[in-house]
Symmetry: C2
Subunit: 419 residues, 2 copies
């Protein structure tokens, strides 16, 4: 895409009331527009990033057998009243209508997915199943802070699975866990898995996926020698510096570290709570009616985008990992007033487009310094610069946004490298 | 996909309170699940259809230079109060929150897109621009009927354009009109364009895209010799049988016909109403502040899915045009108890998948009659049947869902035909 045609422009300043680094950078770079605290619109660049994240998530969920659906977000009140969520879930938005109906806005979809599953799962032969969707969620937060990391409206992948036994759920959880860890890795993040206390809608232990970042809202204790990790809220007697319980067992001497972390996913072991309150039974092998065991697997897509910014940005701007970047290459013509450079740049842009390399082409008539500052702010992984050396030495400058590493290479070598 | 793994199953009956043909068929075939009047969830097959429709729309909007964004659906009340929509739009859902904030749910997004455009369009040099999104909309309808054609929650593509002059808007409208007509054609529909009175939020003339179907809610007068078409609401002295005003002018003798039609898109000439009430000006060539001319282009994606069903279904079930069908081919093994047939079917399924031909493979152990009835109901364009002749004559049966035409051909010829 030509940057001159891109509808957004970078800004020097973020809104004054925006304290979170992720939203400051995303607003300044034109990825998002703040509508109010906790509610953002995603502009062309931001929409591209979110779609990339969704596509990574979708692939992993499809691969483990999840069937994608799209559930309503405007919910009837009845199932929420049946489960008790209508009164118990404090972040549930409730809507009065012109008719006598009351509605809720989806903040999670157990109340909708359970009756759907009930309709199509008459028998143990239909189990296990896993249904997922990617869409908007709504939470009536008292305070929305942390930019796009905690919103009143946000994007989320939520999956729900149903099983005949607890063992089958746990087996499936392990598969989902590996898929989640692959998703975070593709997003340039290393996640740790904790056991944490369930939220208001579960008494059971749940699993949280945590990324170390100062912008986090949780404190975790973790071991660097094994994958032991626990949320400090449920750590009881454990504190920083004590021996890792896991390593102690296997005779290794290792101490726990304390870290600030951000939750990027969670899994709830819901047992038969929702099937029971919403009347979902299936016939087991003996022909008797039985409640399935249910799991819920959340992954906030817009939140993940915020965490990536927090964890990877530097003092010059955003740093996108290549799998989620809005473009693979930022082609910058540093000599916009030189007709030879313009013609060279136009031709290179055509070559890159023909090879299907997603390119943002800075064809604007502004000075080079401004282009480089914008490029650093935008965070596209590879910058290709057309400058004086392109003509004196027949080379282009390739700059890695993450490392700052500069390589000089010919156009041929560049095209080969980017392919 | 293997039908035995598909989470949904067909049903003999739709819910009793469901009177619309589109929803009856879509529910019976397992495409959608009714949550309440006017609110549906889209199950795996339905999600595929909606994604195909979205993809057609997206391609056409991108091609005319639209920039895709994702706006918030949870709206602050302030811009709605500024434009007067807070009190004037009767279908606007309003939400009280735990904080003192009031919110609205997006039923159209002029109140959100205008401030966004204002921020990035300081100058006439930045115009024209067209921003669009594909997402959920909400309307507090008194009566939700017509199945997925008129919902309290529904999918929509909404685009907004901003121009320096009325002429520029009209030129752009003509481009959008052609794109819309191509979209409907790909969906197997022929749309007519009417001039209609604007709704509550516009005093100006708007354009409606209409498809003739008995399920429609509008009456139109149209000419079969030219593209003249008018909504009977604004037709004034015109009735069925009178001479077409257009044809009369060019000396052709043609009479207007009356038809029941369904609106599948609309365009509003909004003038400077929203820029004026939300304070969006740009600097014109003379450096003076000026309000842009604004257009709004709606296309209901879930509504379009409903209209396709209404317009094309027959007494056996749904008939999808190939561009929106959930699968291109329904591979039906009519001999599920014959090991030779099973092995033949498995192999053919592999061949089709390897060629990237989207195939639903009915591998279930049910009788052939049930499979064929399900196949008719599901409406996949091409059915390939493995039966006795596959072995005695070395041929497969290829059945067109739309025409019922049966062709017998070898596996080789089939693969060539489907490619």
């Amino acid at each position: 895409m030509r940057q001159s045609k891109l509808f957004t422009k970078t800004r020097r300043e973020a809104p004054r009331d925006e304290l979170a680094k992720n939203a400051q950078l995303l607003i300044r770079a034109g990825y998002v527009h703040k509508e109010m605290a906790g509610v953002y619109s995603y502009l062309p660049l931001g929409r591209r990033v979110i779609e990339n994240i969704e596509s990574i998530v979708k692939k992993e969920m499809d691969a483990l057998g999840g069937q994608e659906i799209r559930m309503a977000t405007l919910h009837p009140s009845e199932p929420w009243k049946q489960t008790g969520g209508w009164d118990a879930v404090d972040v549930l938005f409730k809507i009065d209508s012109r008719t006598e109906k009351e509605y809720a806005l989806g903040q999670s979809e157990e109340e909708i997915v359970t009756p759907i599953a009930a309709e199509y799962v008459p028998s143990y032969k239909d189990l296990p199943i896993a249904l997922y969707q990617i869409g908007q969620k709504y939470r009536d937060e008292l305070r929305a802070k942390s930019g796009i990391m905690r919103g009143r409206e946000f994007g989320m992948k939520d999956m729900y699975s149903f099983h005949t036994t607890q063992e089958d759920f746990e087996k499936f959880y392990e598969i989902v866990k590996q898929a989640y860890l692959r998703i975070y890795a593709q997003c340039g993040l290393t996640a740790k898995v904790t056991e944490a206390s369930g939220g208001s809608f579960s008494q059971k232990i749940s699993y949280e996926f945590m990324v170390l970042t100062d912008a986090g809202e949780d404190t975790i204790l973790y071991c660097e020698d094994c994958d032991y990790c626990i949320n400090s809220e449920v750590a009881e007697t454990l504190t920083e510096g004590v021996a890792c319980p896991n390593c102690t067992k296997r005779g290794v001497d290792s101490k726990l570290k304390r870290g600030i972390a951000s939750e990027v996913g969670n899994v709830f072991d819901l047992g038969d709570r929702y099937p029971r309150s919403l009347g979902f039974t299936y016939k087991n092998e003996q022909g008797a009616e039985q409640y399935p065991v249910m799991g819920c697997y959340g992954l906030g897509t817009t939140r993940l985008m915020g965490v990536i910014v927090e964890a990877l940005a530097d003092d010059k701007g955003i740093v996108w990992p290549s799998a989620v970047a809005p473009f693979a290459v930022h082609l910058v013509n540093a000599l916009p007033n030189d007709p030879e450079a313009v013609s060279y740049a136009e031709n290179l842009y055509k070559l890159l487009s023909a090879k299907n390399i997603q390119t943002l082409y800075d064809d604007r008539d502004v000075r080079a310094g401004e282009k480089f500052a914008d490029s650093d702010l935008l965070g596209i992984p590879q910058r290709v610069v057309i400058g004086k050396e392109t003509f004196s030495e027949n080379t282009l400058e390739l700059v890695s946004r993450a490392t700052g590493e500069i390589t000089r290479l010919t156009q041929e070598a560049l095209l080969q490298f980017l392919q």
